[in-house]
C-alpha cells in the first residue's frame, strides 16, 4: 500500500527515511506540535515549496532542462486564484476555477515556449525562459488596474477557511478555519507530490532520465526527444501553477514579490541542487531546509551583523539583506562539491 503510494521509489537510505518521515510527520501534525502563528506559516510555506521544488526538479533534475520561468508559472496560478476570487466573489468555485485556469494558462505558455526553443537547442530554453519571465514580470507590474502593480492585492477566501470559523478545541488547540486551510494546502501538496513521484517513476519518467543522460542516444533509440521534453515542461508548469494557487490561498494576497521575483527562482535552484537533482525526495529535504533557514537564519544574521558592528566590512557582509550573497556562494560550492546533493550523499554516492 505504502509502496504503491510512493510508486516504489524508496529513499534507499536509513537516515534519509528518518528525515523524510520527520518532515512528513512534522507537517502532518504541525498545528498541534508547534502551535503559534509563525510556525504554522512556516509549515504551510514548506508544504507549498516542496511541491514547487518537486515540479522544478521534474525539469531540472529529471529532464536536464534549465528553466528560469518557473516562478512565472507559479505566479500564474497565484494570480489565477487571486483574480478569480476578486471577480467571482469569495467561494470555493472561484478557487477551483482560478487554479484550473492558472494551470491551463501555464501549460499553454510552457508549450509555446518549449516549441520555440527546445526544437533547436536545449540551451535556448534557459535564455528564452529568462527573457519571457522577465517580460511577464514587468507586464504584471505595469498592468496595475488588473494586477495591482507592484503592490499586488489582497482578496477574500471562503469563510470556512478564515480564522473566524471556530470549530471547537482539539488536543488543547482551538481548531479554526485557518488550520482547515492549512490541511487543505498540505493534502493538496501531498497529493500532487505523489502524482509527480508517480510520473517520474513511470516509463515516461525513465525516458526523461534517458534524455537527460544522452539526448542523442535517446533520439536514436526512437524516442522523440522534443516531444518528451515539451510534455515534461507542460506538466511541470501546470504543477507549479497549482503550487502558486495554494500559496495565494494561504497568503490571501498575490503580488510580484511573493510569486514572480527572481529571488524565488534562485531559492528554487538552490533547493533542488542542495537537496539533490533528480530525486523528488531531494526537493522535499531541500525545500524544508531552505524555508527553515530563511525563516530563522536571517534573524541570526541580523544579530551577527549587530555583534560585528565594530568591523564595518564584516558587518555589511553579515547584514540580513545580504542573504543572497551567502546563498550564491553556497550555490556555487554545492554545484562543484556536492553535485548529487544531500540525497546523493546520504545514499552513499551512488
Amino acid at each position: 500500500m505504502l509502496m504503491t503510494l510512493i510508486s516504489g521509489d524508496r529513499p534507499r537510505s536509513r537516515v534519509l527515511t528518518l528525515i523524510l518521515l520527520a518532515i512528513f510527520l512534522g507537517l502532518l501534525f504541525a498545528p498541534f506540535l508547534f502551535p503559534g502563528v509563525r510556525s504554522l506559516e512556516t509549515a504551510a510555506r514548506i508544504s507549498v515549496f516542496i511541491l514547487l521544488a518537486a515540479s522544478y526538479d521534474l525539469l531540472l533534475g529529471y529532464t536536464g532542462v534549465v528553466s528560469f520561468a518557473h516562478t512565472m508559472f507559479f505566479g500564474m496560478g497565484a494570480y489565477g486564484v487571486g483574480l478569480a476570487s476578486q471577480q467571482m466573489g469569495r467561494g470555493f468555485g472561484a478557487l477551483i476555477v482560478g487554479s484550473l485556469a492558472g494551470a491551463a494558462l501555464a501549460a499553454a505558455f510552457a508549450f509555446v515556449i518549449a516549441l520555440f526553443s527546445l526544437r533547436v537547442r536545449a540551451i535556448f530554453f534557459a535564455m528564452i525562459t529568462l527573457a519571457v519571465a522577465s517580460a511577464v514580470a514587468v507586464l504584471v507590474s505595469q498592468l496595475s488596474q488588473i494586477t495591482g502593480g507592484e503592490d499586488g492585492f489582497t482578496f477574500q477566501i471562503p469563510r470556512a477557511l478564515g480564522p473566524a470559523n471556530r470549530m471547537g478545541v482539539f488536543m488543547g488547540v482551538s481548531i479554526t478555519g485557518k488550520i482547515l486551510n492549512y490541511y487543505l494546502i498540505f493534502f493538496m501538496s501531498l497529493a500532487l507530490f505523489l502524482l509527480l513521484l508517480r510520473i517520474v517513476n513511470s516509463p515516461f519518467g525513465r525516458v526523461l532520465q534517458a534524455i537527460r543522460e544522452n539526448d542523442f542516444r535517446a533520439e536514436a533509440i526512437g524516442y522523440r526527444v522534443v516531444r518528451y521534453r515539451t510534455v515534461a515542461t507542460c506538466i511541470s508548469a501546470a504543477v507549479a501553477a497549482m503550487a502558486g494557487s495554494l500559496f495565494a490561498l494561504w497568503l490571501r494576497y498575490v503580488g510580484p514579490d511573493t510569486t514572480l521575483s527572481f529571488e524565488i527562482m534562485l531559492d528554487l535552484l538552490l533547493i533542488v541542487v542542495i537537496g539533490g537533482m533528480g530525486t523528488m525526495w531531494g526537493a522535499a529535504i531541500g525545500a524544508t531546509l531552505m524555508v527553515l533557514a530563511q525563516t530563522y537564519l536571517q534573524d541570526l544574521m541580523g544579530s551577527a551583523a549587530e555583534a560585528t558592528e565594530a568591523l564595518p566590512l564584516l558587518s555589511r557582509l553579515l547584514d540580513p539583506d545580504r542573504w543572497l550573497l551567502w546563498l550564491g556562494v553556497l550555490f556555487i560550492l554545492s554545484v562543484y562539491f556536492f553535485p548529487t546533493g544531500i540525497v546523493g550523499r546520504l545514499r552513499g554516492g551512488h
Binding site: L60, G64, V66, F116, S117, R119, V120, R121, A122, I123, F124, A126, M127, I128, L130, A131, V132, S134, A135, V138, L139, Q142, F262, L266, L269, V273, L313, R316, L317, D321, R322, L324, L325, L327, G328, V329, F331, I332, V335, Y336, P339
Partner: protein, 343 residues
C-alpha cells in the same frame, strides 16, 4: 571508347530570390528604418527616435559581442555576463564622480578625458574580473551546460551582492559631464549629444572588431575556432589561450557597455546588468549564437524597434522585444546568422 555523355553541364547562377534571402538579415535594419519612417510620418521625431534607437542598439551590441563569441568559441554560456556590466558601470561612474571637477568643467577636452578614464578603469577592472571569473567559476565546468548555467548564475548573484556591499544598497544618481549634456538641433530634430557619441563609439568599435576578425591572424584563429575548434587545435594552436583572451576581452567590453549605459541613464543600480542581460540574450539569440555580425544587426533592430514602438504604442513596448524574437525564430530557428554548428 565511349563518347562523352550527351548532356552539357549548366552553370546556374544564384537567382535574385536566393540572393535576397541571403542578404535578408543585413537588409532588415534598413527595412525597419523605412517602416518606422512610414509609421511615424514626422521626419524630425523619426530622426530623434532613430538616433536614440541606434545609440541603444550600439550599447547592447557592445555588451552582447563578448557573450556570443565566448559561446561560439568554447560552447560556454555565461549567465554571469551581466555582472560585468554592473561592475563596469559602478567602477566607471565612481571615476566620473571622483573627478567631478573635471566633469563639471565646461571644457570638451576635460570632459572627454573623464569619460576616457572612466572607460579605461571600467575595462581594466572588468577584464581582470573576467579573468578571475573564468579561472574560478567557468573553468571547472567545461562541457557541462547544465552546470555552467547554474554556476554562472551563482557567480552573477555573488558579484551583484558584492556591489551592494562595496557601494551600498542604493542606486546612485549622477549627472553626465557638462559638455555631453543637452542636445543639438539638426533639421528640426533634437539629437542628444551623448547619444551621438554612443553611436560613434559603437560604430568605431564594430568596424574595429570586423577589421580584427577579417584582417589579422588572431581574428582568423578566432573565426576558425568558432567554426571548428578541433581542427584549429589539430593545426597546433592553443585554442584555450585564445579563449581566455576572448573571455577577458568580452568581459572588458561588457564593462565598457556598462559605463556607457550608466552615462546614458544617469543612474546605476546593481541589478542593471541583470536587466540588460535580458536584452543581450534576445540579441544573441536572434543574431545566431556565435555570430558577431548577427549580434550587431540584432542589437540595432532591438534598439530601433523598442524606440519606435515606445513612441507609437507605449503599452506594447514591453513585449516588442519578445515579439521580435518570436518572429525571427519562426523565420530562422537558429537565429539570423548562425555560425556555430549544432554541437
Amino acid at each position: 571508347m565511349t563518347d562523352a555523355p550527351d548532356h552539357r553541364p549548366t552553370m546556374a547562377g544564384i537567382t535574385i530570390v536566393d540572393r535576397m534571402a541571403q542578404a535578408m538579415p543585413v537588409l532588415l535594419v534598413p527595412i525597419l528604418l523605412v517602416l518606422g519612417f512610414l509609421a511615424i510620418g514626422n521626419p524630425s521625431s523619426w530622426l530623434t527616435l532613430t538616433v536614440s534607437g541606434l545609440a541603444m542598439g550600439m550599447m547592447i551590441f557592445i555588451m552582447a559581442s563578448g557573450l556570443t563569441l565566448v559561446f561560439g568559441l568554447m560552447d560556454v554560456i555565461n549567465f554571469g555576463h551581466g555582472a560585468f556590466i554592473s561592475v563596469g558601470a559602478f567602477v566607471g561612474i565612481s571615476v566620473v564622480l571622483g573627478l567631478s571637477q573635471w566633469a563639471q568643467a565646461p571644457s570638451l577636452v576635460l570632459n572627454l578625458c573623464v569619460v576616457l578614464l572612466a572607460v579605461l578603469a571600467a575595462m581594466v577592472v572588468t577584464g581582470l574580473l573576467g579573468w578571475a571569473f573564468e579561472r574560478v567559476i567557468v573553468k571547472p565546468v567545461y562541457g557541462a551546460h547544465l552546470k555552467q548555467i547554474l554556476v554562472t548564475v551563482g557567480g552573477l548573484i555573488v558579484i551583484e551582492q558584492l556591489i551592494h556591499v562595496i557601494w551600498g544598497p542604493d542606486e546612485i544618481f549622477f549627472a553626465r559631464p557638462e559638455t555631453l549634456k543637452g542636445a543639438v538641433t539638426f533639421w528640426g530634430a533634437a539629437l542628444e549629444k551623448y547619444r551621438l557619441l554612443a553611436v560613434a563609439i559603437g560604430l568605431v568599435l564594430f568596424i574595429a572588431m570586423r577589421m580584427v576578425f577579417r584582417r589579422t591572424k588572431i581574428g582568423l584563429i578566432v573565426r576558425a575556432g568558432v567554426e571548428n575548434g578541433e581542427m584549429v587545435e589539430a593545426l597546433g594552436y592553443r585554442l584555450r589561450l585564445v579563449f581566455v583572451g576572448v573571455f577577458i576581452a568580452g568581459s572588458a567590453l561588457a564593462g565598457l557597455g556598462g559605463v556607457m549605459w550608466g552615462l546614458y541613464q544617469e543612474v546605476i543600480t546593481a541589478g542593471m546588468g541583470e536587466e540588460m542581460m535580458i536584452l543581450v540574450f534576445i540579441v544573441v539569440i536572434i543574431g545566431g549564437l556565435g555570430s558577431v555580425e548577427g549580434a550587431f544587426i540584432g542589437a540595432l533592430m532591438v534598439g530601433l524597434l523598442q524606440n519606435y514602438i515606445a513612441f507609437l504604442e507605449p503599452k506594447l513596448a514591453l513585449i516588442s522585444n519578445i515579439g521580435l524574437m518570436t518572429a525571427i525564430l519562426m523565420w530562422r530557428p537558429q537565429g539570423m546568422k548562425p555560425v556555430v554548428k549544432a554541437k
